[in-house]
Amino acid sequence: MGLTELPGSLIAGLWRQPSARAALVTLGIITAMAIAGPPFLPDPAAQPDVVGQALLPPGAGHPFGTDQLSRDVLARVVGGARISLAVAGLAVLVSVTIGAGVGLVAGYLGGAVDAALMRLVEAALAIPRLFILLLLLAVWDHIPLAALILILGTTGWFGTSRLVRGEVLRLRHEAFVTGAEALGARRARVMFRHLLPNTTGPLLVAATLGVGDVILLEAGLSFLGLGIQPPRPSWGGMIFDAKAVLVTAPWTSIFPGLAILATVLAVNVLGDALSGAVDPRKS
Amino acid sequence: MSRVLEVENLRVTFPGADGRRVAAVDGVSFGLSRGETLALVGESGCGKSLTALSLLRLVPTPGRIEPESRIRLGDADVLGLEGAALRAIRGRRIGMIFQDPMTSLDPVFRVGDQIAEGILAHFPVSKREARERAITLLRDVGIPDPSARADAFPHQLSGGMRQRVMIAIALAAEPEILVADEPTTALDVTVQAQILEVLDGLRTARGMAVLLITHDLGIVAGRADRVAVMYAGQIVEEAPTAGLFARPSHPYTQGLFESIPRLTGPVERLRPIPGTVPSATAWPSGCRFRPRCPHAFEPCGREPPVHEVAPDQRMRCWLESEKGDLRSEK
């Protein structure tokens, strides 16, 4: 399937499946609120009345209630959505780019380059990603957002590289590749002009599922204080703050948690549906 | 001779692209008598394997056998059986040899165990007794050093030996009917003859009726008593073997014979049947062979009747069989 026909027919195909449709709608709503919501909502960092308006249950004026610093929970959830989606999206972009690059090179060039790269990837995969992140992030006092995105991105490409390498190995003896080589195409050209477009399917799936993984990881890091730094709102940070009032003011922790759940679930359902659609073995 | 198997109006349908069901086997009827060998001949896609699977109710979902079908085994109605009664037929009254022995044997179990499994499912014997019987069966199918071979895994055996193991499995519960689905297709030519010999010997020794499914007319001669030719889900001609070979009446049958290359006689151009086999989703209306038939004429637009062209030889065609060869009609 050509690169340009992919999006249209893909979305149409996905729309037909009820679960994928629900996922797309959910993500659409969350993204729309993240982009367009903040102007209509109070400032997520504002603490208007810590004495009088703290820990208000959901009601008029505060659909999701307020936290112990009288900050509006809905505003913070939406603000958190904005940050989490942006961080996840950018981080995954970095991961997919590096992963595709490494996978292409390893799979196509083969030999010692392949062996060395794959040994490294194997070792990197043996270390749970969270631990890598903990080691890298614990140095900072106050982690700059750009650094967070970059670190998340550079720690997430290992699996993708193996995936892409697998695809390249599968395709490298196909006629369209050997044909290009016979015509004297340079190796870079073969890789990027011929092989890469044919890996977009699995890459798309990996990227989608990767977004879900990053959202969960980032929430966890924020919970530990290593992710998105206050006063920026983050779902993980909100849950951390809510620990003290878990039972007395459940809305402070339920809503951010549900936000994560809904987003990651939608992303995973979508990724699932995508992987069914791009399966090369489909008859 | 008594009939051990009677199949009437067998219809097997699958869901088609637009939601309606498509009949891959469409009104097949035949019978099998004790000790007789019936060959079911046809190209791939004509529905012969599905017919065989139907006898054991093993049609894969989403396919299903339509209710107007009848399959009678002796006096048992196969389509009405459930549970234990159905399992009592599988293997015990009808044994099946599957097409590709590499994929039809479980790769993680020893072949002896796979044969013994078939025995233990139907006879209350001990494991050791079952193993003994399995070894005997391996010897019967002509495998040398059977007790050692019984401990082999499928991938350690050659194609011919695996097929012999499949035969042994089919015979394990001593069925009265053997269904052999393309038993030699996956094998080298030299091995094919050996396997057919084995089958022949066992059949006469045990007095079994055999349904031999194949696309190869060559293996039918001298081994089958009767032949049924299948095309596009239907039987188009049925006759005793000698009769069919002497006087193929249906244009499709004739086409099949003509496309067999001959080693002797004058060297002529091969005459394949023009066109391709239609898929079940697009059976032609009326006579299904019409688009490819050199004798097609006006009535062929309607469903052709089944009529006798000779004693015990029937075909599904509008043409009256002349006394003689239709081939002379060009």
Partner: protein, 323 residues
């Protein structure tokens, strides 16, 4: 076969060495060195920091530092924890059993309940039960483990007071109480952490088993087994499961990273005295030797897990064992 085994072992060793290299340089990649924070945190004088630097060997060239560290690791010395002022190895040894207990039970539940549910889904492919199970297991996977832990703790432990919310033992229980009482006590403390970890991780097992079985069930040898007259349950158990085992075995090897990650949060939330909470705490105090030590241990276990899986595969698949 034994030659292959040897090769595989060698491969594992190489991977471990690479892991060590990666971990070491990973940490040094981050700007500043481990001690630079101490100046701000604990208000040490520049001289004291300099002395500490010397003591930890941080003033040496980096390659030298690596070999010193690697040599220590090979001897079983993982350094000294900055926060606890104790050898890292003794800390790990102290906390490992609790994590193994928790992880082991989670593994057990996942691979029994998960395999069963996956089979149910495969056999009932396409039915409502299949879709529901997919939805539920995916939802569990999408939950942040720490959030689920907190919600469960708040609900079950605090609000309904059914189970303990933290720790591994009831501090009021005397150590000389009968064994079964002690066991029951630990068991009660295990319920919520296990429930949390299982919920967020069982989806992978269910999906793997479902897919593996779905690939095996239409295969010719399954049809052939039915043709012998075997009851469906036997066909499923003996032929289908056995062949679907292999992909699931691969999953068992990948299991450790998932478990390790989940443990960090769940142990922290439930104050379970294991490696996970140790690591979580080390983050707050920037205790590098401790973090490194735990990361190294977990990675080693992952490599070991992968090795064991490959060996199991080779042993169980006759096509490999008797090639």
């Amino acid at each position: 076969m034994s030659r292959w085994l040897l090769g595989r072992l060698l491969q594992a060793v190489v991977t471990l060495v690479l892991v060590a290299v990666l971990l070491f340089f990973l940490m040094r990649l981050a700007p500043g060195d481990p001690l630079s924070r101490l100046g701000a945190d604990q208000q040490m004088s520049a001289l004291e920091i300099e002395r500490l630097r010397e003591r930890y060997g941080l003033d040496q060239p980096i390659l030298r530092q690596f070999f010193v560290w690697a040599g220590g690791v090979a001897r079983g010395d993982l350094g000294v924890s900055i926060e606890y002022a104790r050898p890292v190895t003794s800390l790990i040894a102290e906390r490992l059993p609790a994590t193994l207990l928790l992880g082991g039970i989670v593994l057990l539940v996942n691979f029994t309940l998960g395999l069963w549910l996956g089979s149910v889904q495969a056999v009932r492919h396409g039915t409502a039960a299949d879709r529901w199970l997919t939805a539920v297991s995916l939802a569990g996977y999408a939950m942040p483990s720490f959030w689920l832990g907190l919600v469960l703790a708040a609900l079950v432990a605090v609000h309904w007071r059914l189970l303990p919310a933290a720790g591994m033992h009831n501090p009021l229980l005397p150590p000389d109480a009968p064994v079964w009482r002690l066991a029951l006590d630990v068991g009660a403390h295990l319920v919520l952490p296990v429930l949390t970890l299982v919920t967020v991780s069982i989806a992978s097992v269910i999906r793997y088993q479902r897919r593996a079985l779905l690939e095996v069930l239409p295969l010719p040898y399954i049809v052939a087994a039915r043709a012998k007259g075997l009851p469906e349950s036997l066909v499923l158990r003996r032929h289908a499961w056995r062949n679907a085992l292999f992909p699931v075995l691969t999953l068992a090897g990948l299991w450790l990273p998932i478990l390790a990650t989940g443990s960090v949060f769940v142990e922290a939330v439930f104050a379970w005295p294991g490696l996970g909470s140790l690591a979580a705490g080390a983050v707050g105090s920037r205790d590098y030797p401790l973090l490194m030590g735990t990361a190294l241990l977990v990675s080693a276990l992952v490599v070991l897990g992968g090795l064991l899986t490959d060996v199991a595969y080779a042993v169980l698949d006759p096509r490999i064992r008797w090639a």
